[in-house]
């Protein structure tokens, strides 16, 4: 007979039995059969088999109602079936009836009388929960085992709980502490003094959010790193991305500029795509968050960098940042997971009475390292020698040496332009609390930061954060609403003044005696202080809101919907007053008074309905998840250029402009839809299997190319659970091997690339509107870039987790590369979006280790070390030779290389000379034979956390071994040339220049002509000397804090008070000759900040 039919027949029989039993009101009577059975730790299943064997009674039960793996100590001699069953079901909310030869187990349905009695019989239990030191633990959870009764402790750690049972077991739990069970009986109803002990095996407790589901760190099959609020909070940072530097393996965060609000480049496990986006996917509270600039105006933001959208989120509001790296973790994000996922979760309320946390900090930032430039004497000598070398005389416009300017004046432009101390100030307040079902947090924060530039510029952020979580009585329905609102103001100006530290040291004062900008009789071509008048301001409003609704249909079946919305609105104003222009210039006209008004909106919405189901059997637990996702992004940007104002004072009023033209318009719409599923199987907490799959579609692709499938398979084996390991390696308390393989995709290209569009021109023709064909060739055939990821890792915990080590190996191969292929100029087009079967490989090793060096009550010392060794390689690129990119890429080499000329200083001419490598008599791209790698050989961090009594000291070193661009690649004025077009002072290295015939020099001679300039710029842009070692070790952050002891504070009604001194980028050890090896070139480096703070908890 078919198995299914048998089962149905059995169920029918069972139903009949139950119906009969209920109708006849037959209560369980004592029957004559007796049982003899002695066995320790026998499972119910075995027991029931024994009953069948000895008495021929069937025991039947509903699947799921009874865990038959439950064990009891059987000690029956001549016991009645009643006695046996009572023992078997003791403590369970089950009862049984015996009918004919069947013992039917069912849920207890107390009679009305029972209920009334039980009501009067409620016992009140009470007690207090403390930690090992005796400090009360508010928010600990107290449950009565096998019932629904549950409460949290109050701020003094006290609790009271009603019990319907006379005796039972109290279960007390608190995150990070070991669970405690306490029995109670009619004679023992309290007070219970419960002491919770901190749980050493952190692995088991840490929950990792992967976006669509959570998993314990112990059971995860993928590569996910987590940074918690604790780590973030110890650094005086503006942008949460800064907290990831040096703390997480596999993620490389490069700060682009020290200007507040400036950009970062973030790469998770290397560069996968040749030229579509390499940004990870950012999700803030479940909603997509833009990763790239949101400025409407392409115009020059300070430092050629961009406002980082993440700077609009306060680090203080963040509970955790999870970084998803491998296929197992990211493939559920399908097409957008190729570059990894950064999940940011904001703070939620914690159970307990209202707790108020307030903090304030104050400090300053400064440029940590200055460079040595030529002083006035050396500068003048350079200029004179340059003319002598060229056989020329200084001209009428060489004011610096022809007698017009004082040749003894010296200005330290570094001090003047980037030498200020920038004030930093932070304040925050949070109120949080809640009962078991409802928690809340509301908070506000304020951050203000100045700049190191002269004048009153800076960055301000003010924000509010709230979360409200509610649950229905039966805990069936849950809702959580989170909102973050931040307003930021960037008040800056048009140009990063850092490049002007190269202004001639004898350039006359920037201001005249009346404090007005001076052009010194039109001899100053570039007055850096003029840029301060060309102000730039950006105001943004950023709202992220998320509503999660969930409903438990059955015990293990849940539906959940996440609705999210993010909007960023930005208003920009860039002013160019006439006052900032040299009055002697032809452009000194009212028409040059311009103001650029930019507006942009960036809206994202997400709707993610998800069903989850947990299926428990004796063979393990199966978790299933099925969901869909609908996402959209609308971007609208426009900017107007207003000019011809009558006065500088009216620049903010667009109505006063005589001319207003359209500067830029952009409307972009992006839609994204997906179906995804996850199946996770956990066998005995030992063997884990995780399958994820996603099918999704993106509007960035043409019809027929929109959809694709992605997925991953991952497995883990917790081998430390094997008896053999337990017995032979007792010092190994945790060991896990995991591996996974999967496919993710990348759609980070521009919208609409498959359409031929005609765009509205900003220029009209005789007041008629005009259109032009888009400069990108349309192509309807391109599709997803795919990334196949492989990972294998081992996680080990030694000596009760005193040492935790994780070593991972990954190999990502991305193919079907989406290339925006640059087209020859003669096509009249700039590029075309195409797929190329080119393949890029990223392999790497990641090490992450944590040591508890000391863990006594008064002294704790934790050390963390992480190291990433990445290797990027272009595996194949069909047609590279003829693609026109031959000079840029090479098979077998990393993507980030520079093919360079071999540069020597010609002994006769003293000029940089490019070697004619192929000897064809011409010097062209074919002679760029020296391949130089630009990028990281390895990077990582070393962190230490020391706690002695109430003192806490944290410090973090980050290190990077890398090649970078020489600082001179950015300052291209040949040593000796005039100052008309760019600042022309030099770093003191030029002193070792070629001077005389047959000199063996490494630095070109001084010169003024365009021939010397051309030689110099080839060498500095494309020469082997333009790539240098830019490795560094940096004391990234230090935090020293003192927590006042609780007792004296109780008088002040204070729960806690911490005073702290925090510093960032304290010092850097490097051979790099520029301002900073991270930012390289002549941009403002990451600043050194020192901040003193006070944090109070009431």
């Amino acid at each position: 007979m078919n198995y299914h039919v048998r089962k149905i027949l059995f169920l029918m029989r069972l139903t009949t039995v139950i119906l009969l039993g209920t109708m006849l009101h037959l209560s369980a009577a004592t029957f004559g059969q007796k049982l003899n059975y002695v066995n320790k730790n026998v499972s119910l299943e075995q027991l029931f088999k024994e009953i069948k064997k000895q008495t021929n009674y069937n025991v039947v039960w509903y699947e799921g109602k009874l865990n038959t793996a439950r064990t009891i100590n059987a000690d029956f001699s001549n016991a009645t079936l009643d006695q046996v069953m009572d023992k078997a079901l003791s403590g369970l909310p089950l009862t049984y009836t015996i009918r004919q030869n069947n013992i039917v187990i069912k849920e207890k349905t107390p009679s009305l009388l029972d209920k009334v009695i039980s009501h009067f019989k409620n016992t009140t239990l009470f007690g207090k929960v403390t930690d090992e030191k005796g400090n009360p633990l508010p928010g600990a959870i107290v449950r009565i085992k096998n019932t629904k009764a549950i409460v949290g402790t109050n701020k003094d750690g006290n609790f009271t709980i009603e019990s319907t049972e006379e005796e039972g077991i109290l279960v007390i739990s608190f995150l990070g502490y070991k669970l405690v069970e306490q029995s109670f009986s009619p004679t023992n109803t309290g007070p219970f003094n419960i002491t919770l002990i901190e749980d050493e095996s952190i692995l088991n407790e840490v929950q990792i959010n992967t976006g669509y589901y959570t998993v314990s760190d112990r059971e995860r099959t993928g590569s996910i790193s987590k940074v918690t609020a604790e780590t973030i909070g110890k650094q005086p940072i503006l942008n949460p991305l800064q907290a990831l530097q040096g703390t997480v393996p596999g993620i490389q965060v490069t700060q682009q500029t020290g200007i507040p609000g400036g950009g970062f480049v973030v790469q998770i496990r290397g560069r996968n795509s040749i030229n579509s986006g390499n940004d990870p996917l950012y999700i803030v509270d479940g909603v997509n968050y833009p990763s790239t600039r949101i400025s409407s105006e392409i115009g020059p933001l300070v430092g050629n960098s961009e406002i980082s959208p993440l700077s609009m989120i306060s680090p203080n509001d963040i509970e955790s940042i999870e970084i998803l790296k491998d296929a197992d973790a990211t493939s559920i994000y399908g097409s957008r997971g190729a570059n990894g996922v950064v999940l940011i979760t904001t703070k939620k309320g914690k159970i307990g009475v209202a707790k108020v946390n307030a903090g304030i900090s104050n400090g300053y930032s400064q440029v940590a390292h200055r460079v040595t430039l030529l002083n006035t004497d050396e500068y003048i000598q350079m200029r004179k020698e340059a003319f002598k070398n060229d056989g020329l005389q200084p001209g009428t416009r060489d004011f610096d040496i022809n007698g017009t300017w004082d040749q003894h004046q010296y200005t330290d432009w570094q001090e003047k332009l980037i030498g200020k101390d920038a004030k930093v100030m932070d304040a925050l307040i949070n109120i949080s609390g809640g009962s078991m079902k409802n928690t809340y947090i509301i908070g506000a924060n304020y951050h203000k930061e100045g700049t190191v530039f002269p004048g009153d510029f800076g960055f301000k952020r003010i924000g509010a954060h709230s979360n409200l979580s509610v649950g229905s009585a039966e805990d069936r329905f849950n809702a959580s609403f989170t909102s973050n609102f931040n307003h930021t103001q960037n008040s800056l100006f048009s140009t990063d003044l850092t490049s002007y530290i190269l202004a001639p040291p004898n350039q006359p004062d920037s201001y005249d005696e009346y404090g007005k900008l001076s052009w010194s009789n039109n001899t100053i071509a570039l007055n850096p202080m003029a840029f301060l008048l060309q102000t730039f301001s950006a105001k943004t409003d950023n709202l992220t809101a998320n509503l999660t609704l969930s409903y438990r249909i059955l015990k293990d079946l849940n539906v959940r919907a996440t609705l999210g919305y993010t909007t960023i609105r930005m208003q920009e104003l860039q002013k160019k007053p006439l006052e900032s222009i040299n009055p002697a210039l032809p452009t000194y006209l009212p028409t040059s008074r311009t103001a650029l008004f930019g507006n942009s909106y960036n809206n994202n919405f997400t709707i993610d309905p998800v069903i989850t189901y947990k299926y428990r059997t004796t063979w393990g637990i199966l978790d299933a998840l099925l969901g869909t996702s609908f996402q959209g992004n609308n971007i609208q940007q426009n900017s107007l250029l207003a000019s011809n104002f009558t006065s500088d004072d009216l620049l903010e009023n667009i109505g006063s402009a005589a001319s207003i033209t359209n500067n830029a318009i952009n409307f972009l719409q992006y839609r994204y839809a997906a179906v995804f599923a996850r199946l996770n199987y956990n066998l005995n907490d030992k063997y884990l299997l995780n399958l994820t799959a996603r099918r999704d579609g993106s509007s960035r692709f043409g019809p027929g190319k929109q959809f694709a499938n992605f997925g991953a398979i991952g497995g883990a084996w917790i081998f430390s659970e094997e008896t053999l390991i337990k017995e032979t390696l007792p010092f190994l308390n945790f060991g896990k091997l995991r591996a996974n393989y999967g496919l993710t995709g990348n759609d980070q290209i521009q919208d609409y690339r498959y359409l031929q569009l005609w765009n509205t021109n900003t220029n009209t023709y005789q007041q008629n509107p005009t259109i032009s064909p888009g400069t990108d060739a349309p192509n309807a055939d391109f599709a997803w870039e795919t990334n196949r990821k492989l990972e294998a890792a081992i996680q080990l915990g030694f000596l009760k987790d005193k040492i935790n080590i994780e070593i991972s190996f990954y190999r990502n191969r991305s193919s079907n590369q989406l290339l925006s292929l640059v087209l020859p100029l003669s096509t009249g087009l700039s590029s075309v979006q195409r797929n190329l079967p080119a393949e890029v490989q990223n392999i790497g090793w990641e090490f992450d280790a944590n040591f508890k060096l000391c863990n006594s009550n008064s002294f704790k010392w934790l050390t963390g070390f992480n190291l990433t060794i990445p290797k990027n390689k272009l595996i194949s690129y069909p047609g590279l030779k003829t693609s026109g990119l031959d000079y840029k890429y090479q098979i077998g080499e990393p993507l980030s290389i520079l093919k360079t000329y071999n540069i020597t200083v010609n002994k006769q001419t003293g000029l940089y000379t490019r070697e004619d490598y192929n000897g064809d008599g011409k010097i062209d791209n074919n002679d760029r034979y020296l391949v130089k790698f630009l990028g990281q050989h390895f990077y990582g961090g070393l962190s230490n956390s020391l706690t002695y009594k109430q003192f806490n000291l944290d410090f973090l070193f980050s290190f990077t071994k890398q090649n970078g661009r020489d600082y001179r690649a950015a300052s291209l004025t040949v040593p000796g040339r005039g100052l008309v077009f760019s600042p022309n002072n030099q770093f003191s290295e030029v002193l070792s220049r070629w001077q005389n015939q047959n000199d063996e020099a490494t630095v070109q001679r001084y010169g003024t002509t365009s021939a010397t300039s051309t030689a110099y710029s080839y060498a500095r842009n494309f020469g082997n000397i333009s790539v240098v070692d830019a490795s560094y070790i940096r004391l990234k952050s230090v935090s020293l804090s003192y927590s006042f002891s609780k007792n004296p504070l109780s008088n002040l009604k204070l729960a806690d008070a911490i005073i702290s001194l925090r510093a960032q980028n304290i010092f850097t050890i490097t051979n790099y000759a520029g301002l900073d090896p991270e930012t390289q070139g002549l941009t403002l480096p990451p600043l050194r900040s020192i901040v003193l703070g006070l944090s109070l908890t009431f």
């Binding site: 002697a584 001319s659 839809a673 005609w758 220029n763 259109i771 032009s772 100029l825 009249g828």
Partner: protein, 464 residues
Amino acid sequence: MKYNKLRIVLLGIICLQFSCKKFLEVEPPKNSLVKETVFKNDDQATSAILGIYANMASYSYASGGPNSITCLAGVSSDELIGYNAGNSQFYENQITPENYNLYSLYLGPYQSIYAANSILEGLLTSNSITPTVKTQLEGEALFIRAFAYFYLVNLFGPVPLQLNTDYRITSIAIRKSESEIYQQIILDLKTAEGLLTDNYPSIGRTRPNKSVVQAMLARTYLYLNDWVNAEKYASIVIGKTSIYNLVDLDSIFLSNSKEAIWQLFPTANTNSEDGNMFILTDTPLDISLNEHFVANLFEPNDNRKTSWIRSITNNTGTYYYPFKYKIQSSTIVTEYSMVLRLAEQYLIRAEARINQDGKISSGIADLNLIRKRARPTPNGDIPNPLPDLPTSLNKEDALLATEQERKAELFAEWGHRWLDLKRTNRIDIILSPIKSQFKSTHSLYPIPQDELNQNPNIKQNPGY
């Protein structure tokens, strides 16, 4: 039962797929049109052709500004001095293939060509545009293509001949010989001549009509030494006396002047970019007139010297600048940027006639017409200022006189001087003595590096 469930799930997934597809449909951006809608009606199709002119007039090869042929070809000849990093390479005839000004001279014309080709393709498949408008637009697009190739072939020599928009073909194009390019130019111009009428489709003379095409044909035939046709087409334009006349020196560059055959409307709501670039108020940072050039430019008593040249003097020296355009910047637009004007047609006809046996004197008569306009009123001190050239001059002298007249009349306009020196093979003789680094291979500019990088079929010009 089980199979039913399966069916329901499958049905659900299929529905979801449809709804997904629907969900993924995005509207084209509101500031853009898809190709099909552009050529749906007259207005949109016209705005496409206007787009070409707007782009030409705005900071491009044709605008008269710092990136223009006027500026850069002027700097590389003996007319102008370039001071900034980009144009000083032109001044020293040491242009590197990476020079960013060079890109404008190469890419700009090709952008016009791409737009013209797109319009020609769009018009071909459209059937909802009024036939007269369609003919007009087709003529304009063909003209623009020819006009752009004229400058490409003269500045760079053999170049790729792009006649459609498919990047798969255009991105691997090879350089076509100069004669093949000229063939196409003549073909396009002749077709355009048949399509356009003498009416300007615009207010003022800001869009090409038939005369514009004919003027360009006259110039093209002159460059090809086809004297008969050059004379023929110049005569046609000169003959339209009800439309075109020589006007006094200070009125030539005014908007809608009678001398204008084609002017570009300045887009930035200011006057011409030429005026903005040339007129100096202080030490020049970008360009000025070469004082040696100014010294030999005019015969004595030429009104053009006083009317068209100005100078400023400050503590750093004296600087000359062209003053053909009088307004540096003003929101009241009174001057348009001149592309083709009647005086050039006289000069073309003069040269074409002098080169034909028996027509030398009639050629010299044409030159004298131009001289007459530049002649001051005689007075007691100067009874015979800027006299007529004797019609008895022999061919060589007459040609030299033509060269001088073109130099004096057309300086600082559209690189005429540079192209004339090249065309008449006089470039080495004139430039070698005054420009130390000049070599004869420099008469062609280098092909920009990005072109070489992206298209392996393109090789660099000799000497670079």
